[in-house]
Subunit: 427 residues, 2 copies
């Protein structure tokens, strides 16, 4: 099945009849003519289509009843004979941990497999500049699009990074899908508080075979940043503009993906990136600062937290359902300075009575929650909701999962939520 990964029924028969395998470069005649690489399919796919990755990097689904297909060049299922990586003893060592995502997608379809096999040799062949910056070991921790990552994956990544502390690695690159990269960055920031080395989460918005790909520059910049910046902590390292000129290093608890497709989709909220990597320099933001702490890894997450975004027409019964279920805390994404409508007060009272922790963030995303300005805010304070400063809602959610996971009870959790653990809010 490796040659037809994911195909079944009619589409599998079609491929076998035409002697085409996943990874082959094929020509397809449909309404017009397409040339591309036959991609593997996934569990929930039907059996009436095949998927081609076009040269543009985008995938297209084609109905087998309406097409003719022929192989242009067959995939080589054996590993290519890549040159052995030369180790330069004068350069520092980095570790690249691959978790999946677009950044690994070229290898993905070139080998025809679903698993991104990011060996050191392949990485160096793809981005030879890396070899001049550091000696990079690589390993595949898992290979999931980041929309499928869960708090249990955060834990695995954190544990692997923790095992590298006080080894020869000067820093760690985590190759990661961009969809939930900010959640993982926040999770690592809390779980590995005070980590003495720098960690760079790196992704790409366009797969590495496309001319507009940001993968290589993001990787090169991350390696430079880890080797040269002399900093520590968790960062997201992604394009700073739509040009290939600057890469931003965002502090892990203050970063958000604010565009679906742009290469500079990631932004530091309420401020500028911590570092900018340029062609020949790394510039530190003079305003950037973070709380320095002892390294105290606390690597647990408890998912009994619900994020509730308030909107006009939200039914309090949804909150009542959460209260009556297994949950221990609610993070609200309120409106404006941190409000939810009066219609929710009764439910909030019930949650308080049941001992749930309730924290308030703002769906405005930027700016401070301030619950003493208006009556609504003061009402909510009286009802027991805790304002969470200018924490990004997603960061507050992740922090709550972490705080509950590493506390004996919600009182202890509340204390952690109010403490500025990883510069997640401005005091």
């Amino acid at each position: 099945m490796l040659n037809h990964s994911g195909y079944r029924g009619k589409s599998l028969a079609f491929l076998q009849k035409n002697n085409v395998r996943v990874g082959d470069v094929v020509k397809v005649i449909a309404d017009s003519s397409y040339s591309g690489i036959l991609m593997p399919r996934y569990e929930y796919s039907d059996d009436e289509h095949i998927v081609l990755k076009l040269k543009s990097g985008y995938n297209i689904g084609l109905e087998i009843d309406k097409i003719k297909i022929e192989t242009e060049s067959s995939t080589n299922m054996k590993k290519e004979n890549l040159p052995q990586v030369q180790v330069d003893p004068k350069l520092p060592k980095l570790l690249l941990i691959s978790t999946g995502g677009t950044i690994a997608s070229r290898i993905d379809y070139r080998t025809g497999g679903v698993t991104p096999a990011l060996t050191a040799a392949e990485l160096n062949a793809a981005v030879p500049e890396l070899g001049k910056i550091a000696n990079i070991d690589t390993e595949v921790l898992f290979s999931e699009y980041s929309e499928n990552l869960l708090p249990e994956h955060w834990k695995k990544i954190a544990e692997r990074i923790d095992s590298c502390i006080r080894t020869e690695y000067k820093g760690i690159i985590v190759a990661h899908g961009t969809d939930t990269m900010q959640y993982t960055a926040a999770a690592l920031s809390f779980a590995l508080t005070g980590i003495p080395i720098p960690v760079a989460l790196v992704g790409s918005q366009r797969s590495s075979d496309r001319p507009s790909s940001d993968a290589a520059l993001n990787l090169i910049s991350a390696a430079k940043f880890l080797v040269e910046s002399n900093t520590s902590g968790i960062y997201v390292v992604m394009h700073n503009s739509i040009n290939d000129d600057e890469v931003a290093c965002h502090w892990g608890t203050r970063v958000r993906k604010n565009h679906t497709s742009r290469r500079n989709a990631f932004q530091t909220i309420s401020g500028s990136p911590a570092y900018i990597v340029k062609n020949d320099s790394i510039e530190k933001n003079p305003q950037f600062n973070y709380v320095k702490r002892e390294y105290t890894p606390r690597i647990n997450f408890d998912t009994r937290i619900a994020l509730v975004k308030y909107y006009p027409g939200l039914d309090p019964k949804i909150v009542d359902y959460i209260i009556s279920s297994r949950y221990k805390a609610i993070i609200f994404e309120g409106t404006g300075l941190g409000h939810i409508g009066k219609i929710m007060y009764e439910s909030v009272g019930k949650a308080k009575k049941k001992g749930l922790f309730m924290g308030m963030t703002s769906q405005c995303i930027d700016g401070m929650v301030s619950m003493t300005v208006y009556e609504s805010g003061r009402d909510l304070l009286n009802l027991g909701i805790i304002p969470l400063f200018n924490m990004i809602p997603e960061t507050a959610l992740v922090k709550a999962m972490w705080a509950l996971g590493n506390s004996k009870n919600t009182e202890e959790m509340e204390k952690l939520m109010k403490e500025n653990i990883a510069s997640e809010f401005s005091d």
Copy 2:
């Protein structure tokens, strides 16, 4: 009780003993000395504090056991004798509908009442420049902080505006709290599709007595815009910078509150504001365009819609609860190009089977949902989720309430969701 609105028990006794009434300017000796206006209190307040509005515009709660209070000047509970408004027959007529919020908050505490009483005389006394732009009638539709507004309020505002079409009013100002202004703007945009006159929702981020208040300039600019721009449709009219120099007119379905406190908190997503009102000119954005339609008011909203923001650790059971309840549709705030994790697929399948409409937006807020690029997106398309282009999630939610409210079934609703009704997405 009018004189002590909202106070009860110990705090009421304290105020009566000291002969202080809501609206009075008082001096309070506590840890330090405060001068301010005694504010009314709300239903959920305790009876151990009083609330003072300081000259800074911010409110402070003070514990009665720890303070001394004395009246500096007593409120005049009768209406002030404001000069009669002069009608200039050469000027056009506008209607100002007040719904509440900070923009009415000066009147709020000056009279000592909870209700903002925005008479034409008071408005003209507060912002005399308005009298040179238009003859403005005023009316109070309701007076709620906007976090308390519900779809039933949207309906009332829309009905009142609809009743003004083909009258002498050249345009309508809706004074509105900023917390949920974008939801109301979207609701009016759909309910009053093709409205032949311009409507400006106006709010303020700082109450009108503060030196930094944006209320007057926003009102003046809205009046100018309505009188001079020769446009139609629903707009949000708010500061364009933190200076008092430019006011932006944002198209009602493309605007979002992106900061908790800044005067220029509102931004047009994926573009620039439709118009900029400067001191001596109104500039139209040359890129701005909107679908022109016949006026077809359809003023119903159905709240059987849930907004579900996806995040790692979201329990599918919350979605299962929604499916098993009264809901007819789910709007997802997915990650990246419009994804939710595999862990949700089973629930999504159940929702589809039960006939729920499911639409996909992105929590990135900016950019297009594009569900054919990755396997995850194609899986979700196969499972029946409809991509909602670059609709802002909050706009998509409001549109779904409107579309369901004006459809016989979810098929008809789906057709409306895919149609670009009020330039809510880029085709």
